[in-house]
């Protein structure tokens, strides 16, 4: 509902940006309590399936509907021995609810008669191509961290906060700062990257591959 009252101008509309964990933030994540990194909408496998399908390009309602058809297959028994007769199909109404839900969370949008995804998903095949560059950058960062390791230790000893090792927290803070600076320099865009989809694709492909390779 659009609000046109005198209070509109006092309403906060901008993006919250702060280094500190404020009292109205979740103390575990340091982010607004109602804004988890992985939203609840992704609990449902059907919605994850829709997003993965849309990562291949924008699709019509009918195409998504057809994609949700599925027939399960056994892991060991081949088709000559046994052919599955069980089939699942989601209805128009349920699919529409899922799509509206994804639209509400700005994960997809409908333009003309096609749905398109609004955040990046890197497919597993493409990820394999990038593996080399990812490893080389990781090793470079490792070298940098090794170089400054003594500096970190000395600093920790100097401030003598506690006996427990704080280096993991420091590395997390360094990465956080790195993200912030990358965004400031416009090297990475300030849009969500939903990690559970990585996990879903990874698990799915690995599991199927593993079965295929072994049996």
């Amino acid at each position: 509902m659009k609000e046109n009252s005198k209070y509109s101008e006092y309403r906060f509309l901008g993006k919250i940006s702060t280094d500190e964990i404020l009292p109205w933030y979740d103390f575990v994540t340091g982010k607004p309590w109602d804004d988890p990194e992985i939203p609840w909408v992704l609990d449902n496998k059907v919605r994850r399936q829709i997003l993965i399908f849309l990562s291949n390009g924008s699709k019509t309602f009918e195409e998504i509907y057809q994609n949700l058809n599925f027939i399960p297959h056994p892991l060991l028994i081949n088709e000559e021995e046994y052919k599955t007769k069980v089939k699942y199909q989601w209805t128009d109404q349920t699919l529409e609810n899922h799509l509206l839900n994804l639209e509400w969370y700005n994960l997809i949008r409908k333009s003309e008669n096609k749905y398109e995804i609004l955040f990046p998903i890197l497919g597993l095949e493409k990820l394999k191509d990038l593996d080399q560059i990812i490893s080389s950058i990781a090793y470079k960062w490792l070298d940098v961290l090794k170089d400054v390791n003594d500096k970190i230790k000395n600093n920790l000893e100097r401030i003598k906060i506690q006996k427990l090792d704080l280096s993991r927290i420091l590395i997390e803070k360094i990465v956080e700062k790195l993200y912030e600076n990358l965004k400031k320099e416009n090297i990475i865009p300030d849009i969500p990257n939903i990690k559970s989809l990585w996990a879903e694709q990874l698990r799915n492909v690995k599991f199927e591959e593993w079965i295929k390779n072994n049996f």
Partner: protein, 319 residues
């Protein structure tokens, strides 16, 4: 195969649950069977209308269980995923397909009587067709040393007009670390009843169970009951999700947990959602101690407070 060929300890631990294991052994009883000790298939028996196929892998097995169209089984299918050693990692990958109009009960037992650093993982898929009656009961025993880590993940799809009952029980012996994730997708006119019972008895016991029911079809209905107790520093988290995504679907989540002794922790997280204007989903949760009135009534019958509490726990987790 006789009793002596299947590890005695595994059989005895299941008898603690008042289960007569003899009928489940190959050569006895009428049901189909798949018995596993770590990664060795110790017994496999098919019957008419059921296809069972298992493959031993390094740390466990892959198994297909198919119930053919229209088959009604009077005797349950028995699956026993036991490990009769202290340590190791067991991984099992069962895939169950029940075709349309079938009626079946599956009794699965996961018993690790000697566990002391043992890890059990499962990644299971259940595909239940249309007009089925499917009853799945899984009973666990993790020994007396809190030495097991048990992490099953199951995805279950329930076809149109089918009735699915899921019962998970872990109320004997110690728990160790348990992390269970179950996702159930309910299609049109299906009925889901899922009941989870767990008892964390020591400070080394942690039970974390997430059972999610997604009502994806019109008029799908579900009841999710999660009952648990934590004692002597044990920890329990019952995370029950129900999501109404279709017209006229109806779901309910109920969590009851009892905290016993200092240092014990009970957590409940009933999480309900609706994305369809005609969906209806509800929840209730209660944590803490038994009502004083119940305890007083049992004490009036001559029980001590401790005995009264134990009686009520037995009643809650045993019903």
């Amino acid at each position: 195969m006789s009793n002596t060929e299947y590890p005695k300890e595994i059989l005895e631990s299941l008898e603690d649950y008042n289960i007569n294991i003899r009928d489940f052994l190959p050569g006895h009883g009428k049901g189909a069977k798949l018995l596993l000790d770590f990664n060795k298939i110790k017994g496999l028996e098919e019957i008419d209308g059921v296809i069972l196929k298992g493959k031993e892998i390094k740390n466990g097995i892959i198994a297909d269980i198919i119930i053919k169209k229209g088959v009604t089984l009077e005797d349950p299918i028995h699956l026993c995923f036991g490990v009769n050693k202290e340590t190791g990692i067991q991984e099992i990958f069962p895939r169950i397909i029940a075709e349309d109009n079938s009626e079946v009960t599956i009794q699965a037992h996961c018993s690790f009587p000697k566990a002391d650093g043992l890890i059990h993982k499962m990644f299971g898929h259940f595909y239940i067709g249309n007009n089925c009656k499917f009853n799945y009961s899984e009973t666990h025993y993790h020994g007396e040393k809190s030495g097991a880590t048990v992490a099953p993940v199951a995805y279950m799809y329930i076809g149109e007009n089918s009735i699915f009952e899921n019962n998970f029980t872990l109320t004997r012996g110690t728990v160790g670390k348990v992390k269970i994730l179950i996702d159930i997708y309910a299609m049109k006119d299906s009925v889901i009843r899922s009941t989870i019972k767990a008892f964390g008895r020591t400070k080394n016991d942690s039970v974390r169970i997430r059972d999610s029911i997604f009502l994806e079809g019109e008029n799908a209905r579900s009841v999710l009951k999660m009952k648990a107790a934590a004692q002597n520093g044990g920890e329990v988290l019952m995370y029950g999700v129900t999501e109404g995504n279709a017209p006229k679907c109806n779901g309910h989540v109920e969590c009851n947990e009892i905290v016993l002794g200092r240092g014990s922790i009970c957590r409940a997280r009933p999480y309900i959602r609706a994305t369809d204007p005609e969906a209806s989903v509800s929840h209730e949760a209660s944590l803490g101690r038994f009502p004083q009135k119940w305890l007083d009534e049992l004490k009036a019958k001559g029980l001590t407070e401790e005995e009264a509490i134990q009686t009520l726990i037995e009643a809650m987790l045993g019903e």
